[in-house]
Symmetry: C2
Subunit: 706 residues, 2 copies
Amino acid sequence: MKSAQMNGHSLDQLFNPRSVAIIGASSDPAKLGGRPIRFLLEAGYEGTIYPINKRAETVQGLKAYACLADIPGDVDQALIIVPASAALEALQDCIAKNIKAVQVLSSGFSEESAEGLVRQNQLVELAKRHGVRLLGPNCLGIVSVRNRYFATFSTALEALTPSPGGISFATQSGAFGSCAYAQAIQRGLGIARIVATGNEADIDVTECIDFLASDTQTKVICAAIEGCRDGNRLRTALLKAAAAGKPVILMKVGSSVTGQQAVATHTGAIAGNDRIFDVVCQECGAWRAYSIEEMLDIAYVCTQLPLPANDSASIITVSGGIGVLMADDAERYGVKVPAVSEELQQQARQVVPFLVGVNPLDTTAQIGAIKQGLSDLIDLVIGGTEFSTHFIYLAQIPCDPGRFLPLLEQLTAIRTNYPDRLLVLVGPSEESLRKQLEQQGLVIFADPGRAMRAVAALCELKRRWLALHPGLPDPVRPGRHRPDAAKPALNEWQAKRLLAQYGLPVPTEALCESAAQAVTAASEIGYPVVAKIVSSDIQHKTEFGGVLLNLQNAKQVREAFEALLDAAGKLSDKPSIEGVLIAPMIKGGVETILGIHIDPTFGPMVMFGLGGVAVELYDDVAFASVPLSKARAGQLVRSVRACRLLTGWRGQKRLDIEQLESALLRLSDFAQDWAPVLEGVDINPFVVMESGAACLDAVISFRKGT
Amino acid sequence: MKSAQMNGHSLDQLFNPRSVAIIGASSDPAKLGGRPIRFLLEAGYEGTIYPINKRAETVQGLKAYACLADIPGDVDQALIIVPASAALEALQDCIAKNIKAVQVLSSGFSEESAEGLVRQNQLVELAKRHGVRLLGPNCLGIVSVRNRYFATFSTALEALTPSPGGISFATQSGAFGSCAYAQAIQRGLGIARIVATGNEADIDVTECIDFLASDTQTKVICAAIEGCRDGNRLRTALLKAAAAGKPVILMKVGSSVTGQQAVATHTGAIAGNDRIFDVVCQECGAWRAYSIEEMLDIAYVCTQLPLPANDSASIITVSGGIGVLMADDAERYGVKVPAVSEELQQQARQVVPFLVGVNPLDTTAQIGAIKQGLSDLIDLVIGGTEFSTHFIYLAQIPCDPGRFLPLLEQLTAIRTNYPDRLLVLVGPSEESLRKQLEQQGLVIFADPGRAMRAVAALCELKRRWLALHPGLPDPVRPGRHRPDAAKPALNEWQAKRLLAQYGLPVPTEALCESAAQAVTAASEIGYPVVAKIVSSDIQHKTEFGGVLLNLQNAKQVREAFEALLDAAGKLSDKPSIEGVLIAPMIKGGVETILGIHIDPTFGPMVMFGLGGVAVELYDDVAFASVPLSKARAGQLVRSVRACRLLTGWRGQKRLDIEQLESALLRLSDFAQDWAPVLEGVDINPFVVMESGAACLDAVISFRKGT
């Protein structure tokens, strides 16, 4: 028998086993080794449960086995709940029994001590050698609600029983996961899968997202990670989910300085750069949530409704005040609330003569006086607009079955006629009412602001998905002409030559070893010129007078040459001097900064910002992953607030943004080729002119020891 | 008999009447005129209810009267629920009966038509003439829960019954109020008073806040306004509440552009400047909330706990992941989570040997193994720190009475020993459990982020209250040397003279009518100088070459004089030219902008920002109310992000911030004196130097027709 739910993923046996052995099974249903058996029995798991217990004939009414080898047939999965010191032996038994999926729920591994880390490494090595997939150790286990597979000892499930639905949870921390799914259950949200990965010795949250992306039971993925070991695998998993039309709502715990310290203490995982994480979520069509409540609000809407095709919404309200509040919220969260057409206004006033406003549309509390007035108005507005979302503020109507049940019937009909629209009710609701609504594809929120925030997230997710498919390049494209070896540090001349090879605009310059050479170069370049000291030992030239500007003639160039050598010669650390750079004096344009930052998790990222104090004062820079697409380069430039200085600020001419974007793309090419040895790049300033652009200075640094 | 709840406020009779007449009383408990009687009877109102109904002997079991005059004794209050056209006559009857508090619940007034506005004005005039206080018209009425006075026809109260407590609601929109208090009731929060002011023909939300500030039943005030007619009255009411130790949580609906349009359509009230509203809340010790949920979260904590004395918190958690999340939230919302002392760490590890971290303190899920481990740890941390707030994340423990009830007992003891600390539990809770906790002065949140956000608001409120008492000047200080009349527009010379009279630093300058005068002035001032055209008709001099910089000698000054007159003479609108200003050429320093903005609601506000593109690109300006205190001037300067440019940016010297603050104070003096006729002031640039500062240009404009 092959389970119908198998989809060929390597984690299939973990989530959909036909049989499970519990190693360390206890007859006491309250103990760690007893709880999974109790949960499985209570849930009515249809597969076979094999308790392994040397000293008992039966365990909680099930036939027990002294060891795995005693089990007659095949076993899909094993849970190891024995002390850490005995876990390796248990795993050996699993291998002997040809079990390919093993959960180690026991603690006492890397989270506890160096000795524990050794034990954990032994486990993983053994598992890998035999092709066994390992969840944990120190994890809370797996729940597959539809399969009634409750292979966990989470106490949260003692008080709460999840009902089947489309939301899946994948978290590193079991306690974090419990907090999230306990809230979900208490809110009556339906759940597909729950997995907590614990120490992630083998399987991590990323791989679980990858599994859930192709899991037919899962509609929405709620995930929480602390650290991320492989940025590209996470990118790939997120892109896979987006391609499958499954929203991923991701929390990253440990974004604050205090939080990061706590993470380091907690699991030893190093939280990546928080800001880069935001960029990656945006690029890969995922949503980053900042609270469990926000995560669940978005998941709730996603399981019921399609993502909206556009950002526009109508607000129909029985209260003017709440209509205004929702319009405020719409602006704050980025949902558009355009006026409905004059024609529709007229039609609407035929239905509700005392209607106020053009959107929000305020029926006032008098709407009760018109039979079917509210539903007729809703029908009219949905039919008469292309808006994807329709909010309906109902005040206390949902508490009054006499008024609400007829409305619900009419809303159900409307819902059927317009399956691509989002109908979001706002008002109080009991769980039974919510269930009734959800069966009709309607959602309801008590708080108007939370309804708007959730819809805004859906709109943004849709924008991100739309931005994905045309241009997103393969994030693991191989390098093209990566050099064999890299020098530890490049001087300005070398850095610019290298960037020029990639097509970045570098002015015609000359590296001169004598004053005479400098004068010849200056006359070839054309006066005025700039003279700069060139040394791979000196990163900050201007601070000791290593840059002399606006030289007008041969005499000044000769003097500048001597002055630069003099000044450099006086430096206490005796830098090696490679010469003097003679370059054209470029005036005008706007100074920008281009850079490459190597994120330890997500690899090379292109940075863009405007020059001047704004970058430091207002942190007005933006990042994008390498490799950059043309569309993404444009987005990167526009996402910097000071970008307005380039696009015709206060009557000035528009600058050469095409050249800027082209430079960013070429810088991305460079970063991709050199990523393995690169530490960072700073092109500062990169001057953008009305026509053309130029790297005026560049620093390229390589990782030590490469 | 005088009610014990009277406190001498002019709204006393409205909130605490001993008897009430219902004009338009209906025997049908579902009709508008029947509902208040039903609610009053159901609630068990102990005062006397007099239904007024010409055609009935009794109404809902109460003796009815054909008219007010038939009632034998005094009547404290009347509710008018007759058609708008009959309301004036009903009010006349009230006056004849010497009733001093009247609610007009009927609609059909200014909210509906011009005719309605006329009716409304007639009502108010009549009421004012006879000293009658009027609530409404078009309002939802009043609820005083402890008095069991339910004088409203709000349908929200059909399904929901508020329990007595400390939260009061004052909103303009009845429907907005219903939405807020319905959520509060559904959350089990206790309520003191509810009032919706409707059209605010007489009594407005501001006056209700003023009443509630002195109301002994009210602990926390939740208010929502759309427009505000008199900013100073609102300031006074907010300050009164802060002085009484009552947090005011204020929502302003209509902050967005769309929202503002909706408000205009909805009530005709013009929403004031949204940003100024924030400033006023901050200055007057109130909290501005952006959602009903946020409002209720904060109110919930405020009714149970004192405001925290400091911003520091401990986080004790049974889950590392949630601890990290809460540390992230703390940083985001501005709550400090400092490490506990080494001594305390050692003591804590004696209680919980496997404790992880220094704050958050993570007991891990194993804490269940140590009897009283959690409560002993909590006791230790509270006793061993001065932190005002202690978060305790409990995971699912509250769902398990066997584990939670003993803990609750221990927490209650701790609570008693440390009455000034905030103990905030995080975990799921049923309403009955919440009630039990609240009786012990403990609060519980399901969502960790919301718990942190509410506590952060309390911390900020406390900071605002602390900043209030020493320096806040009387916001209605009378003007000192206000001039008799103001010219419609001042030229630069006049504007600077006027500002100099107030002590603002203006360089020695001369207004010259001839080239010879200009040369003389320049030599007295000392070269180099600046020459500027002076005209009250020209606001933007630089655009047509009306400013000539860096003049080095008499010849250049003479040429500049002629060139300026020439250029001005060519302007098409033929401005009147009052002369040429000769001023010293001031170099160096940092350019800032000082200004006065006259907010239509809140009056004159001082503005401060840095010069350059940052103000426009990053909106990096700050406002403060006039009059400014010295402390507030410092706060104003520091609240601008670019302020770092003044305080020793990148190794530069610190600039003369004392002079800057002094100039802001003097500008505030100026604005206070001239407020009645002023339209605005721009001092741009105001240059701050290492020693000293100078107004280099100034525009003062007055309101048209003054």
